[in-house]
């Protein structure tokens, strides 16, 4: 295995890990909002979060690229205040990847929260516990399979991402060249053995993650 293979696999892992960690922090408040709160714009927010499920990745990638451009407000803001250009950079791919994987994190968490009987939250409230205490001591411990599913789905989905990365990041070794891009690249160059190496690793990772999800969810229901 060459150094570029290892570099590409490490970058793929780095992107998936960062996406998953950041999405866990973003996804929980969103899932909580969608599961428990009623507000006027909820269908709009829900539709926006779930858009990546139906949207071609290239569409999102295209608009991200447009947004990153210094000739537009967001790109200009980043360049002026943070000296940051996101197009064709790891940061740019990471941001696009977070948006693109959002529903894979939010949906399992939302379903997990909804599956917890209302009376558990109410009991905790009547016992004087704040929503934050209830969240960490009652809700999260009773939805571990949903959290594992959300994390595994997000990670697996992120590893398999192609369209968004190629649009936003291109194919820069060590910066934006992730395994899915490398496969395409190697096939183009007719390096089928190398393409197979990447493919096999991605296949195994995805298979293991999905097996974990299904074995978690086949356990006996607690409620």
């Amino acid at each position: 295995m060459g150094a570029d293979f290892i570099q590409t696999m490490l970058l793929t892992g780095k992107l998936a890990t960062w996406t998953t960690v950041l999405l866990l922090l973003i996804g929980f408040p969103l899932a909580y909002l969608l599961a428990y709160k009623r507000f006027l714009w909820k269908p709009l927010l829900e539709a926006l979060i779930n858009m990546p499920m139906v949207l071609p990745p290239t569409v999102l990638g295209f608009y991200m690229l447009v947004a990153y451009s210094p000739s537009n407000a967001f790109g200009r803001f980043l360049e002026q205040y943070f000296d940051l250009r996101l197009a064709f950079s790891f940061g740019g791919v990471l941001l696009a990847s977070i948006l693109f994987s959002l529903p894979f994190m939010v949906q399992p968490l939302q379903n997990g929260l909804l599956a917890i009987p209302v009376s558990l939250r109410e009991a905790s409230a009547t016992l004087g516990k704040s929503p934050v205490t209830t969240f960490f001591r009652v809700l999260i411990p009773n939805m571990i399979p949903s959290v594992v599913t959300a994390v595994a789905m997000t990670f697996a989905h992120c590893i398999g991402e192609f369209g968004v990365v190629i649009m936003v990041g291109g194919n820069m070794p060590g910066e934006t060249r992730v395994a899915s891009i490398a496969i395409y690249d190697e096939v183009q160059a007719m390096n089928y053995d190398r393409a197979n190496q990447y493919s096999m690793v991605l296949f195994l990772i995805s298979f293991v993650l999905l097996t974990v999800i299904y074995s978690m969810n086949s356990r006996k229901k607690r409620f």
Partner: protein, 231 residues
């Protein structure tokens, strides 16, 4: 004294159709008040309103000179601020915590001696390490009572605490409820459909139908007819 003053209006929708819950009453200190009536009468809704889990349309609730709810001034204390013990129909024990964990979690300040005291009172010593799914209905009920007491509530509310149990179990657990009430030395409100149970436990009874109070008084002076089926 721990007087509970209730004067509320709340629109309800039940299986029987829409109705208006109208309650104007005062509950004296140390009363064990049973709410009795057919389903859809508003018994559970009233308990949930008192606990702060439902906001009534209008009115005022006052307990121990503290206003819990007043639609005129916009006061509406959260459940956390009312210091009530609420026992749910499904007991709502936390599945991730052991029997002891449920009781310790409920305490405002960690006090193992007080928790052990409750564990003894409800005869739970052999079960402390068990999770709720490893308990029988009667055991869950005892844990739920112990947990409700662990927070040292000023007011205890029991929503059909014994409905899921067979008659033998009911009789023995009615004793636990009486014990709980005496220990608390405050007001207990309890929803029940069961006439013998009401007669055995209640110091007073409020009969509800379609959101209206039909009668209030000590159980000896009330006419129960043939029980809820007659309603």
């Amino acid at each position: 004294m721990n007087m509970l003053k209730i004067s509320i209006r709340h629109a309800m929708v039940s299986a029987a159709g829409p109705s208006m819950l109208e309650i104007d009453t005062e509950v004296s200190p140390q009363e064990l008040l049973c709410l009795y009536g057919p389903s859809g009468a508003g018994k559970t809704t009233l308990l949930r309103i008192l606990a702060g889990l439902i906001k009534p349309d209008s009115g005022r609730i006052e307990f121990e000179d503290t206003v819990w709810f007043d639609s005129k001034t916009g006061v509406n204390l959260k459940p956390q601020e009312r210091n009530v013990g609420f026992m749910f129909q499904d007991y709502a024990l936390f599945p991730n915590m052991s029997v002891q964990g449920n009781i310790l979690f409920a305490q405002k300040k960690k006090d193992r001696a007080a928790a052990d005291d409750l564990i003894d009172l409800f005869d739970l010593a052999a079960l402390v390490g068990r999770k709720p799914h490893q308990l029988s209905g009667g055991q869950k009920q005892r844990v739920a009572l112990a947990r409700a007491l662990a927070a040292k509530p000023a007011l205890l509310m029991l929503d059909e605490p014994l409905s899921a149990l067979d008659s033998e179990m009911r009789t023995s657990l009615q004793e636990e409820i009486r014990k709980t009430h005496h220990r608390l030395n405050s007001i207990t409100l309890m929803v029940s459909h069961d006439v013998p149970e009401v007669k055995r436990l209640a110091s007073s009874v409020m009969m509800l139908k379609n959101g209206k109070v039909m009668a209030v008084g000590c159980p000896e002076n009330l006419h129960f007819g043939n029980g809820p089926t007659e309603w």
